[in-house]
Symmetry: C2
Subunit: 346 residues, 2 copies
């Protein structure tokens, strides 16, 4: 059965409710923008590329019944909804990139009637979706060239079909390697606190018949010490102009461990994840989330006393110096990153 | 209120049921050896030094009503119970060390009547308990010399009062530093899969008014990157003759991360944790535990599909080359470890 992470269907945004996995494959039909905002906030839909599509479809959802009678009114509604959706989560570049794509289309068509603008927004959102599917396949194709037969690959969080429209970035490389019959094995870091690695990555990899083993995040170093890992591939939420990459918390740790054990460490991400307006990783906004995610074990049982303080950054930044290469949809990018990113993504 | 992790009381081994913390402070009175074996297996009592005491008291519990009429019969029962207790968990040196202390006392008193041997076992177990209390204080005293005013210390798992009789090894250093008014701060790694850092370390540190912040294991690298960690102190379950140290899974990862960030990394452990019969870390037996600990989130809810494989080593080995110093109860041990361990522990 073909599964799509996010699509427009029955006059609504249809998503897989990722908080229900792996127990249940449940779809939600989102019919208003507040529900979408909340779905993004609590990670019912997540993953940088998927958020780009969600944001773009979200603008259409919010404006499809707009009563605006002229461009000025419509533009004012557009600005409001873009700013609202943008307030859901701060780190993933694609969310803002998706919103900007929509804004640009509208601004470039000031003379169109409101009905025409709505149609353009709908089309642009679907262009983003189609492009993402192609991007992921390109990432897979470029990345698989780095994977040798019999490799064991370590990954973190979920940069798979559930983080994109349907193929994945880091996991796209894995899917493509499998299609090329490379007999790969995968170790998935569970990825505390929300366990996207356990809940989502092992779910989608086993569905595709890929040999996957689940570990706790603190076990990755031991596998490396034992010589069991040939390469690490992670996704990214935002990549700065110098190649520094923000990704799910724990990624930086894996990059340092990879360097110590002389294991290649790759970031896989489409062009839409790059933010060339940001000079380096230190300017990437890092979301801090609810302490309850750590303290209360999925809000079900207290794992620490209420008075205990918690630090819960959702992302970290891996400096480009620890990245062996970035697998983009336009090709493999190596150091020097600053110039090669510009050259390859132009 | 004075809390003791383990003691002999009301003709039973009285322990804190550590699986109930931090929700409930509940005591168990263990009256038979199978219950003790199970309590050790499921970590109701855990921590290398506490296991040494539990094992020694366990031998007394098993043999106090022995009907043996001569040394030979008693010795045969002793061997059986020692081997039984020793089968509970393989890694912690102190468990076997406690059992060997008891065996040695019995073997050195072959001419004593069975009643006298029972008494000697009881006394030896209490000697182990008293010695552990002194050891922890010595570790605290030596270790606190390494702690400067205002330091922020990162620790993993629980090497505190709950892992010993009442003061701790790694946390003993922290308690002593606090007594010396050094205004320290602590970050506690939650320590997946069983969350001893979240459930036990933050519990006992907050009880003592120490400023503690809980993080997920994969966040430690980020704190180091931000320059927030001045030193790392971990306990140990077994230390080989060359200084390689087995400790809770995740410790090795912290050691590598510390080296990368030029942060001193210390192991705190009493003499009883050293196993000079083992040449290096690669000969330390590493316990692998039930996949359910990772897959089922405390056996309450599936976090991965049943068919997903899991790798769940309970410990890892940190090579001595990554250890800045070992804080023992006999003094600080630095490289070259092989010779200095011999010299200081003699």
């Amino acid at each position: 059965m073909k599964i799509t992470t996010i699509e427009w269907k029955n006059n609504a945004i249809k998503i897989i409710d990722q908080t229900k996995l792996p127990g249940k494959l449940e779809y939600l039909y989102i019919k208003d923008i507040k529900t979408l905002w909340h779905a993004i906030k609590v990670l019912k839909v997540r993953g940088a590329p998927a958020l780009g599509a969600a944001a773009a479809l979200g603008v259409f959802l919010a404006l499809k019944n707009s009563k605006a009678v002229n461009f000025h009114e419509f533009k004012s509604e557009l600005d409001k909804v873009i700013s609202y959706i943008g307030s859901s989560r701060p780190t993933a570049r694609n969310l803002f990139w998706g919103l900007e794509r929509i804004r640009t289309v509208v601004l470039s068509n000031k003379t169109k009637p409101v009905s025409g603008l709505k149609k353009l927004i709908f089309e642009e959102a679907h262009k983003i979706i189609r492009e993402d599917m192609i991007s992921c396949r390109n990432i897979g194709r470029f990345g698989a060239k780095l994977v040798k037969k019999g490799y064991t690959i370590l990954t973190v969080c979920n940069a798979g079909m559930l983080a994109t429209i349907d193929y994945g970035t880091a996991l796209g490389v894995i899917y493509r390697s499998q299609e090329e019959k490379k007999k790969i094995k995968v170790y998935a870091c569970e990825t505390r606190p929300l366990l996207q690695g356990a809940r989502l990555t092992t779910w989608e990899l086993s569905r595709k018949g890929i040999d996957v083993t689940l570990i706790c995040d603190n076990m990755a170093a031991t596998l490396m010490q034992q010589g069991k890992i040939d390469m690490v591939i992670a996704g990214a939420d935002r990549i700065a102009a110098n190649g520094d990459a923000a990704n799910k918390i724990g990624t930086y740790s894996l990059a340092v461990l990879s360097r110590h054990h002389k294991i290649p460490f790759y970031i896989a991400a489409p062009k839409s994840t790059f933010d060339l307006s940001i000079k380096s990783g230190k300017y990437i906004p890092i979301e801090e989330r609810d302490p309850g995610e750590i303290k209360e074990l999925f809000f079900k049982e207290a794992m620490a006393l209420p008075e205990v303080k918690v630090y819960n950054p959702a992302f970290d930044v891996t400096p480009h110096s620890l990245i062996t290469a970035i697998i983009s949809d336009k090709g493999i990018i190596k150091a020097p990153y600053q110039s090669n990113i510009k050259k390859i993504l132009k």
